[in-house]
């Protein structure tokens, strides 16, 4: 694989460095480091209990990591020296025209979404079930609308500035509803939508916060093949048209292999592989982790694989 394709090494939007998360005696994530390239779709895969969701919760601030640094470069490039200085200085973030940087492990969860621009969805969908699809997307634009409403005072008085902002927010929500094919269900309560539609609505809601990094926790879980294909199209659209970097956890290898620019594989909280889809697919350690082979047998698998690839190149979906 050509080194130039390794966008994540050149222009990372998120750098996870030496991340460790312990729950009592249990080490869920152990000294994990990886980068997420700007404008890439990065997949975090691994067997059940590998620590993927823990990594997500650390990145989005729902857990405070035991050790490690999680740096988000919102725009531009920041030198490592500047990053080190910020880390030593004890600040949470630095905003500058030549490059803003946010140390996510130091920030509160809602601040990460509000100012650093990381949005997430949940493994078990967390929509506001009693509110309509449209309202769900309006709640996501809370901070913008709060400022426009003069922290409620201007909105109470019905100032024109707020009315314009409210209209714009509704337009934006409607645009996203159209994009995820839910416009005709805009006035239906979210809990009434079918499962696949709820997944799409949750993604649209996360995008309404204007993120630079979108974290999706198993977005294809429970979708039928057709819906999975639609999800792929949607994710590519988000990446290509909106320039949003995507980090996703996924078990559906069809989705992962097709759309991922970069795959990180975890097992027992440790990174066992990191690279493009084809690199990871042929990695004997990954195969061993997925097939449940003992450590001693890894080399054996490796040998077998070399023999196999020598004859016929491995096709997609081998995992």
């Amino acid at each position: 694989m050509n080194e130039n394709n390794r966008n994540w090494a050149v222009d990372p939007v998120l750098s996870v460095e030496h991340l460790t998360m312990r729950f009592g005696g249990l080490v869920a994530v152990d000294d994990l480091s990886f980068d997420v390239g700007r404008g890439d779709i990065t997949a975090l895969i691994g067997p059940n209990g590998a620590g993927k969701t823990t990594v997500f919760n650390c990145v989005t601030g729902f857990y405070k990591p035991t050790e490690g640094r999680i740096a988000l470069r919102r725009e531009g490039t920041v030198s490592d020296a500047a990053l080190a200085e910020l880390t030593r200085g004890g600040q949470q973030y630095r905003r500058a025209d030549d490059g803003s940087i946010f140390l996510l492990e130091r920030m509160a969860d809602f601040k990460i979404t509000e100012i650093a621009g990381v949005a997430r969805t949940f493994q078990n969908i967390r929509l506001f079930g009693g509110m309509t699809a449209l309202e769900n997307l309006l709640v996501a634009q809370h901070n913008e609308l709060m400022r426009a409403s003069g922290y409620t005072i201007g909105g109470l008085l019905g100032l024109p500035g707020y009315r314009r902002a409210a209209e714009a927010a509704k337009e934006k929500a409607i645009e996203w509803l159209r994009r995820v094919d839910l416009l005709d269900r805009a006035d239906d309560p979210a809990a009434d939508l079918p499962y696949g539609a709820q997944r799409r609505l949750e993604i649209a809601r996360a995008l309404c916060t204007n993120p630079v990094l979108l974290c999706l926790d198993e977005p294809a879980a429970g979708l039928n093949p057709r819906e999975s294909a639609e999800l792929n199209t949607l994710l590519k659209y988000i990446r290509d048209e909106h320039g949003v970097s995507v980090l996703l956890i996924e078990h559906d290898m069809g989705v992962v292999m097709e759309i991922s620019d970069h795959i990180v594989v975890l097992d027992y909280g440790k990174k066992i592989s990191d690279g493009t889809a084809s690199e990871v697919r042929n990695d004997p350690k990954v195969i061993a982790a997925y097939l449940g082979v003992d450590d001693e047998e890894v080399e054996e698998v490796e040998r077998d694989l070399d023999v196999a690839t020598a004859h016929t190149p491995v096709q997609g979906g081998a995992l």
Partner: protein
């Protein structure tokens, strides 16, 4: 809606399509689940069930109604009273017959008719019509009472003022419990803070009602924030217990801080509100003198009535407005899912604090009105039972529903008063029946029945705060109830 169904079926793979068609084929025609009972069997069935019910009641009430023992000189005296026993059995028979014949065994559910009515009047939904009617009645009530019931007008006007006070308190608490989903069992604390703020400011600094009103609201809001901070991290039952304790702390402090609050003696001589400096009293410079009217004590009641009406309407207006603002939407989102809120960049601490502060502010307004109406306050007026009544109004009315709170206040506060005068019941239970002794019993029973009939309150549907094309009300089963319910 039609669009969505077609697109959904278009999405489905072919196999599923065929299966569902087969299923539809199998169930063609009217659903044959239940045979509609014919009139004959219906009548027989109703008579049979009514007979069984009457028999049961006859046996059960035999020793309560038929035989009676009264304490007499030298022991007990047994009397036989077949009349009331036969009446009880008759009521049971007739009631069961009517229920079985018309409600249970009807050809279609009785509710169906109502749904049709509701659908037909989509442009004028029943809630809107009812709301406007109630508003018009409320605006003209003093004059209606004075012309229609001149003998009882003062009593009824006073009762209306009391009901409106509870409407306002219910609306205030509705923000915290109904919208933000934070169960607050100590709401009376803010009512007390408002009342004491006004009373102390007025008696110590000689300030009038209109200056003190906003200050009382601000103080109460401040206390709302102070309560908010410690309970921010609490959820569910724990939140309810801490708010309950907070309400008691305020009352106990008021009771024991003798030098400042007067302790159990309370505060006397709280000034009455004035209309631009015109007092409602006899003599020079009073309201009646200025307008050349004959003095009547009812004028003050009418004035108080309009003050509380205006305050209540202000509460309603602000709440309805806030529901459509980002802060109100965040309250409802908080009730639905706090973690999702935080994942969207919403500072849930601020959202909770604004809910507590806003709710408390309206409680404070109502409190200072209470103080000026009574002219005297003491910690006695701010016991836990007040919190419970206000919460009962909100729950009975339906969490988050403004109209529900009004109906529940009228039913609860008006109902308790009404039962006091229900001498008509003496015709059934005999001349010795004293309705005032049984009113709480009857009232409690009525509440239980209402909650059985409508478990999520009288008005349990939710109206969306933003609409794309069509306004659809959201059923209670989808709306989360928040913490501690």
């Amino acid at each position: 809606m039609a669009n969505s169904t077609t697109s959904a079926s278009a999405n489905r793979p072919e196999g599923a399509e065929r299966l569902s068609e087969e299923r539809r084929e199998a169930m063609r025609g009217e659903p044959p689940f239940v045979e509609a009972p014919t009139d004959d069997t219906r009548l027989v069935r109703a008579l049979k069930e009514a007979g069984v019910t009457a028999g049961l009641v006859a046996v059960l009430t035999l020793f309560f109604f038929f035989f009676r023992t009264d304490i007499a000189v030298g022991g007990l005296n047994l009397t036989v009273d077949p009349k009331s026993w036969i009446i009880a059995v008759g009521i049971a028979f007739a009631g069961r017959f009517l229920l079985t014949y018309f409600v249970f065994a009807g050809e279609r559910p009785t509710i169906g008719g109502w749904k049709k009515v509701a659908a037909a009047s989509a442009r004028w939904p029943i809630g809107k019509v009812l709301g406007i009617t109630l508003l018009l009645i409320a605006l003209t009530l003093p004059f209606l009472l004075m012309t229609l019931l001149p003998g009882q007008d003062r009593y009824l006007l006073d009762l209306s003022i009391l009901i409106l006070t509870y409407v306002m308190l219910g609306w205030g608490l509705n923000i915290v419990v109904g919208l933000a989903g934070l169960l607050d069992l100590g709401y009376v604390a803010f009512y007390a803070v408002g009342a004491y703020s006004f009373a102390l400011l007025a008696t110590n600094f000689d300030l009038g009602f209109w200056i003190c009103l906003p200050m009382a609201g601000l103080f109460a809001a401040l206390w709302g924030v102070m309560l908010g901070f410690p309970v921010l991290r609490l959820r569910g039952d724990y939140l309810a217990i801490v708010t309950l304790a907070f309400g008691e702390i305020i009352r106990v402090v008021l009771l024991n801080w003798y030098d400042f609050t007067g302790g159990p003696n309370g505060i006397l001589g709280i000034p009455k509100p004035t209309l631009f400096g015109l007092e409602f009293s006899r003599g020079e410079g009073s309201f009646s003198d200025f307008f050349g009217l004959e003095y009547s004590s009812i004028q003050r009641f009418v004035f108080l009535y309009y003050i509380i009406l205006a305050l209540a309407l202000l509460t309603n207006f602000v709440t309805m407005r806030m529901r459509k603002l980002p802060v109100g939407r965040a309250w409802e989102a908080l009730r639905e899912d706090e973690i999702a809120c935080r994942s969207l960049g919403i500072n849930t601490v601020n959202v909770k604090l604004t809910a507590f502060a806003t709710g408390a502010m309206f409680g404070g307004f109502a409190g200072s009105f209470f103080a000026t109406r009574q002219g005297f306050i003491s910690p006695e007026s701010f016991t836990f039972i007040e919190s419970a009544i206000i919460l009962a109004i909100v729950v009975l009315g339906g969490l988050g529903s403004q109209l529900g709170v009004v109906i529940a206040s009228v039913v609860m506060i008006g109902g308790i008063e009404l039962l006091r005068n229900l001498t008509g019941l003496q015709a059934i239970f005999g001349a010795g029946f004293d309705p005032t002794q049984y009113r709480m019993l009857i009232f409690g029973l009525a509440m239980v029945l209402i909650m059985v009939w409508k478990p999520r309150g009288l008005v349990s549907t939710r109206t969306p705060s933003a609409i794309y094309k069509e306004k659809k009300t959201i059923g209670a089963d989808l709306v989360a109830q928040g913490e501690g319910h």
